[in-house]
Subunit: 206 residues, 2 copies
DNA sequence: TCTGTTGCTGGTAATATATACAGCCTCCGG
DNA sequence: CCGGAGGCTGTATATATTACCAGCAACAGA
């Protein structure tokens, strides 16, 4: 996100406060009144600038179609993002993968969780991680042997137990039906996306 | 707040989800489309009904002027109580058993969770419920075969899969090392304390 | 039987709102 | 000295949206 000017930050703050007070975003006219403009176009161009800098997103054609981005303060942004199917080649923690948000305090996990990953497959069954579970993930590449990690191999994102020995990394499933994956760091790219720090399961999976 | 009808609750839920998804409330037209109405007035009158019952408040004259009230999201609540060792003879859900509180929105589970029970033992291992896990429990005695329940037998509280056949109730572990418990309701007291609706695991158990 | 509520169809007028076009001024890097 | 971004005024206009009209049917309680 680009840095905002003082005036732009002022407008962003107004939008934020307006949402908290009213429950919905302001119109151009609301911004115009609040900031003392004489033309609604002043608000319009500010919104465009804010969108260009990635501070907000605008919904074309719909009234009050303003959404604050990268903001932890707004009520609408509370909770952890739930990430589902991860498309090949794109980072796990990307806006387009966020299916919904789960009202959980990230601080109940240690280290704190950054997002929830919807688990696919039964490869970690014997570690009590089942398909459909939400794995709480802390974004870090600093993992140790025996920890459960989220790893990216080629374009595949997987949850496994981590074991490293020199240039050899073994990604161990917790299910005899699956086979461990061995990666040679000198020849194959391996990205550690994060560390598993907890689990949440919905009732439907019980 | 008056009780909502099924249809009204449906609409309230839609508004709620719309706000989460979009960042702003829906218009009458949005509701009309989503619910499959042919007239926007259907949405209008539903909103009026919801306002009358105190479920929402409407801002006259402004677009998307819908605000959810009494949102049970529990922003003031300090999370779910975590219940640990249960002393013999006393009810599970008693103040003295609350070890701590966990910052989780009870509404992420369905039906909603009333408390979290710290799981002891590995009798439900193959259902992905491990020792130390926090089982989200909905307080009810209305359980069905195959569901995971919190049951009290004598002075013992246990988590098992429920199976009833007439007067015979079987409490099935999900681990071949444990043996099922059979209870004859005519001779032995069995109290169903609640229904397992979810699970939370701390990182330390991973 | 009357009255009110729920749950809609179908339509319309008023107005709230987004958004485009045409400018004006200042500051700043190249 | 040019070009672009920031920060506005002022005027329109298409359309998104609210809000109200008149009905219809089912149902519940008084």
């Amino acid at each position: 996100m680009h840095k905002l000017t003082a005036r732009q930050e002022e407008i962003r703050q107004f939008i934020r406060q307006f949402i908290i007070d009213s429950g919905f975003p302001p119109t151009r006219a609301d911004i115009t009144r609040a900031l003392g403009f004489r033309s609604p176009n002043a608000a319009e161009s500010h919104l465009r600038a804010l969108e260009k800098k990635g501070a907000i997103s605008l919904q074309a054609g719909s009234s009050r179609g303003i959404r604050l981005l990268n903001d932890t303060g707004g009520e609408a942004e509370s909770g952890l993002p739930v990430i589902g199917q991860v498309a090949a080649g794109s980072p796990v923690f990307a806006q387009e993968h966020v299916r919904e948000r789960c009202q959980v305090n990230p601080g109940i996990f240690r280290p704190r969780a950054d997002y929830l990953l919807s688990v696919q497959g039964m490869s970690m069954r014997d570690a009590g991680i089942l398909e459909g579970d939400l794995l709480a993930v802390h974004r870090t590449a600093d993992v140790r042997n025996g920890q459960i990690v989220v790893a990216r191999l080629q374009d595949d994102v997987t949850v496994k137990r981590f074991q490293r020995d020199g240039y050899q990394v073994r990604l161990l499933p917790e299910n005899p039906d699956y086979t461990p994956i061995t990666v040679d760091l000198r020849t194959e790219p391996l990205v550690i996306e994060g560390l598993g720090v907890g689990l949440i399961r919905n009732g439907e999976a019980l």
